[in-house]
Assembly symmetry: C5
Homo-oligomer: 334 residues x 5
């Protein structure tokens, strides 16, 4: 296979070669340029911002990546996972972010191939969030220069999980906003908003849950690619993942209660409507009947001729109304 | 037992004999034809598309299959399972597919008898999905020719689980369709649709859940019939099963919420109906009463003779109506 | 203690003595008849169809049954259990069956005392379902003659669990029947039916759940009374128990959803009723008011003298009605 | 510390000293009387019916009870627990009983200090239920005389757990009573009754759950104070605790369903009320309108002069009513 | 780094140096004052009431605290955790309290750095609850003087967890208050109160849950910083944490039921309102229609001239009313 032929001209891989006292940034335009680094004693990080099939196949050939690992990297729907192979460790996770509003969560896959001396990352798009890591790598006094590719993976994962927290914050604001609305508003659109909010939380949980698992596996792993020295760091981000999940779970429960409260609120509203109707109808329907009686045209209706009949009937009207109102007051309908 | 006698004339077993550098496809019409292969050093795959009792008993006799294993294969209601016997491993699973719509899921049993050098599969119907595996087996450069019957089992299982994903996709589309309908439609048939959708998901989970278990058992198995080399592959489809279950669980939660939202929506609708009634009744019932008063036939009703009484009463009507409307506006019933 | 004295004259124990090439069925009328068999090298099965206190105490004395085991056997409310004692294994389970309809589940206790060479079963009533086992035991070519009392226990348990499946089938039919009814019927009795159906399922689960546990314990047991050779058989019925529990769980979920759907259906029905009332009231209440106006008896009501007033008012009636109907059509209340 | 000084004159401790062939019951009035027994080779049971601080501190000093254990014994809100100390085992549990009705459950703490050769029990009140144990202890042929203080603890625990079953029975009766009421009665007080019934069940579970845990810990314990010989007995009461919890769980589920059924029942009732209103209103409101038309006083209303108009209008009334009734019949509102 | 320069002038650290027979309390105003104590064989407790970044960094430098531990201490949102480092153990937890009402829970972070011979605590504010510990430390006869920094940690944790119980008590009172209100009151504000009460419980659980985990980890820990002798004490507060969680769980369930009961109560209220309306409307609407008939102005209405017609019609009115009331009585609507 002639790899240089297949890769497209826009090929742009960043290669960071580093040692305690050495740093070099290379722009790779042909895969063959990578070959000299294969047996270097120096550590390097190859950052690939592309999911081009040919490119990835070329990389896989150069670095002897197992076909199953390659499949996982290529498959953009891959569930987060950690798997050990003979010559490297594969870690796949997702970057989560929103462009505008929280009900629209984007996810992009990031794969880490962690070797003894090198790290290869494959992502779909350029992220700003990795810039901080690059800057720290250039700093000769920084810890990263002394540590291996597993520590570098940690710093990148840490950047990703920090983004999850930002998302979580936005979700939390949305939950609070929905809480406020539920207490005052009964519009139908609120139902749909609650439903989609719940789905957003599910989307995040779907990613964070397996991420937590892989961090837990890392902590217990005895792989030669994951050094014991980075374990406290991994534990740190593992705890972050646990915290995110607990938070989502709490919000999920809140949302479920919110839906119940919304429903109860609607019933309360309906109660109020029904009470209004019942009060008015209960007062006036009997009165209308009484008025109807004296609207009948029978020839022999003695009351009609009585002098004060009209005023008596008014008294009846007023007394009946007063009686009803007293009854409703006693029943606390007002 | 004279096996050739019992088996019906339509007997059609496919026997694929293969080695790294050898491939032969035989059509078996008499069970006795199988005997020469029993001690062959070559690997072979015997594909049986039938649940004919006699045929299966004949096969069991030839390959020394334990009676319990034979019972499991014959019983079409068998729950997916993995069980080790002295001379083989039994794996039973289900093929799931829909012919027309998603609420109609068919399941067909597929049993795998995994020996040291051979694989026997028993299925009810011919599936297209196994064709791909057959083609790969004919390919002399393919991995399958080098690997044992456990790898062959993996590729067949992989094909089956890919079908589950297609089903999951259809289920997901149906969930989204129901979501859209719940927001706009209150027809009773929707209830029944939601109920049957939930049952479909249960049906799939009932199959995938034990499938996940058997894949997990395979991963941990120390059976001589399952080689360590195929474990990464099994892990791959194990992860698929996990993903399907997580997805079903998420959809199940969504459907539960959907039902609540549907119910809340009906209450909202009812609220609207009640408000309309209450507004109309609350305005017109008192007015009708007032009109009724002046429809009474008392002889002495001074207002009746007043010149502008009729216009005054109209003013009362209009003012009362305006007052009511203002009240309802204040209560935000409009 | 003189055991022969205490046992009542109706004493009828069946004793089956068997070997690979030997079978003898004895009818025991006095407990002392059992003593010769205590040290026989032959295997035997003693079937006791009685919970008579004295009889059981006599048996316990003869076979040196621990007092706690005896208590468990005597107590008809005993939860299914498996417990090892020095000289035997105690297994208590329940036979479940319905006489007429599914909402009336009977349970009868069956206890197994599994010794090295003998099995004692204690049951309350004669069951037909054990007849099959007796016939197989008489068959000299049968497997049962070769296997020990643990295998005999398995075949009896298998017969019991097959009965559970029959019950499950009936429950399933009842669930489907309730499903159909919920969609068309709103009668109050349905509520009670659903409630009692749920309780029936709980009753079964209460028995099958610990049965599953004891089968699981058997599988892991290292008791000398349970031979490794019977483990695949036990695994078989263990899987049946798992399947029953999963099925009950699925049906339980279905029933819960059914209740929700029933409730939603009632709301839908109520919506329909309310709409009818609202449409009629909203159309006719205002019209009645208008008619009421012109039924007033004021002296000065110019419209009353207008020639076409009556036809004009009819036009108003018709227009108002048409307007209302249009409004309701727009709101999709029809 | 002068213990005799601090203890109040009402001090009444029962000391039972026993051996296989020895039994002595002493009434202790001064703590110093206990000292001779400290190094006796005989077994003894000291029963303290008091939570007097000074008394307990005195006892703690004599028997070298760890301050934490003393705190647990003194604290009447202590959660049931089992804890091993150097010179004894502490077991704290609760006695549960009702004086009058089931919604009023009392709990009293019972603490067991299990030494090598002695048992100290601390309870708040005298219980009748321990009398049976005392009688069995006096019986020279009884098992209790042969066994150690752990077996004595078992018999006392057994008596306590038997009381739980009596409570459970009462709870069950109450559940059945609520079931019957829910089907026929819609009184508001039922809601409150269901709520308090659920709380009663919670109260019991709160005690039985940790009791189950401590029995489970006992079974697995390797403490020198708990002999292997008593394990089958402990297993027995452990199973009782499991059964109580399963039963409570089943009742809890039933009560949850009951509440749903109650709610659905109210909706059904409301449906019936609404139907009555709708039928009456839908029939008579239009008729009243028609009557209202011919009650208008327009001068030119040709129908009024028609000879048979009145009979025609009656025909209209009757036809309209018949039509409506037919419509409602078709809709199955009757 | 010149630490004395960075720390602000308000620096106020309390240093308690203690031995079995030694106690000294020092007020530290410059970090450099701490240096002599670093290698003292005496035990000391350094209490820092500040989260000042510079101060904490200075402390970290002096005591060689791992950067990750420092991050955890500084981050006030840190989830409770227990982590072992080379030279110390880090325990982070939260102090919970309410200033006025229970729906307003404050949390403040408390970090413990447990070394071999010293304890450093970092808190945000001065708490009264630690005063008791200080007094016990000054007492030369107290246990605390003999035990190490882990026991000191226990006493401080115990004080914190006692505060949780006070909170729990308040929550419980609030739950009971809500229970009472739900039975009599249907005000909308109750919904919001229930919702916020649930959130308060979540807040506490969020803290207590991981606290329980860290206490459980402590119990199993084999760290050199946690001595076996303090394990019974830790077990004690571990049990308190378990009890708090169980209690919260029980209250959470109660609140969920409460919400359902509130909803059912609203339905009951609505039923009552609807019945009132239906009774009045069903009685008077038909009567009004009858009155309307005889209010019609047809020329030929024979009944109008009948002498007793008016009385007959009154009889009809009364009979119809009596009939209706009988019907409603039979239906138990009164």
């Amino acid at each position: 296979m002639n790899t240089s032929e297949k890769t497209n001209p826009k090929l742009s891989l960043e290669l960071y070669v580093y040692e305690d006292d050495f740093f070099e940034k290379n722009h790779i335009t042909e895969l063959s340029q990578l070959i000299p680094y294969l047996n270097t004693p120096k550590k390097f990080w190859l950052n690939i911002v592309s999911h081009d099939e040919n490119l990835l196949s070329g990389i896989a050939e150069i670095f002897a990546i197992h076909p199953l690992a390659l499949d996982d990297i290529k498959n953009k729907q891959q569930r987060p996972k950690l798997e050990e192979f003979d010559n490297f460790m594969l870690l796949v996770t997702k970057m989560l972010y929103t462009k505008s509003n929280i009900s629209n969560i984007h996810s992009e896959q990031v794969s880490f191939i962690i070797g003894k001396n090198h790290l290869i990352t494959v992502q779909e798009d350029e992220f700003d969030i990795f810039d901080g890591v690059r800057i720290r790598l250039e700093n000769p006094a920084g810890k990263m220069r002394k540590m291996g590719p597993d520590y570098l993976t940690y710093t990148l994962l840490d950047a990703i999980i920090d983004e999850y927290f930002i998302l979580l914050e936005k979700l939390y604001d949305r939950t609070e906003q929905l809480e406020d609305q539920v207490m005052v508003n009964h519009h139908k659109s609120l139902l749909s908003a609650i439903y989609h909010h719940r789905k957003s939380m599910q989307e995040i949980k779907k990613i964070v849950w397996p991420t937590r698992e892989i961090l837990s596996a890392w902590k217990k792993s005895e792989s030669p690619f994951l050094k014991k020295k980075t374990f406290p760091y991994i534990n740190n981000i593992y705890e972050h993942a646990v915290e995110i999940i607990e938070n989502l779970e709490m919000q999920r429960e809140s949302i479920a209660t919110l839906l119940e409260i919304y429903m109860t609120n609607i019933s309360l509203k309906q109660n109020e409507v029904m009470k209004t109707l019942t009060i008015i109808a209960t007062i006036f329907i009997p009165l209308t009947f009484i008025a109807g009686i004296y609207g009948m045209n029978f020839e022999y209706m003695p009351e009609l001729q009585w002098k004060y009949a009209y005023w008596v009937i008014w008294a009846v009207f007023l007394l009946a109304t007063a009686g009803m109102i007293t009854y409703f007051k006693k029943k606390k309908w007002f």
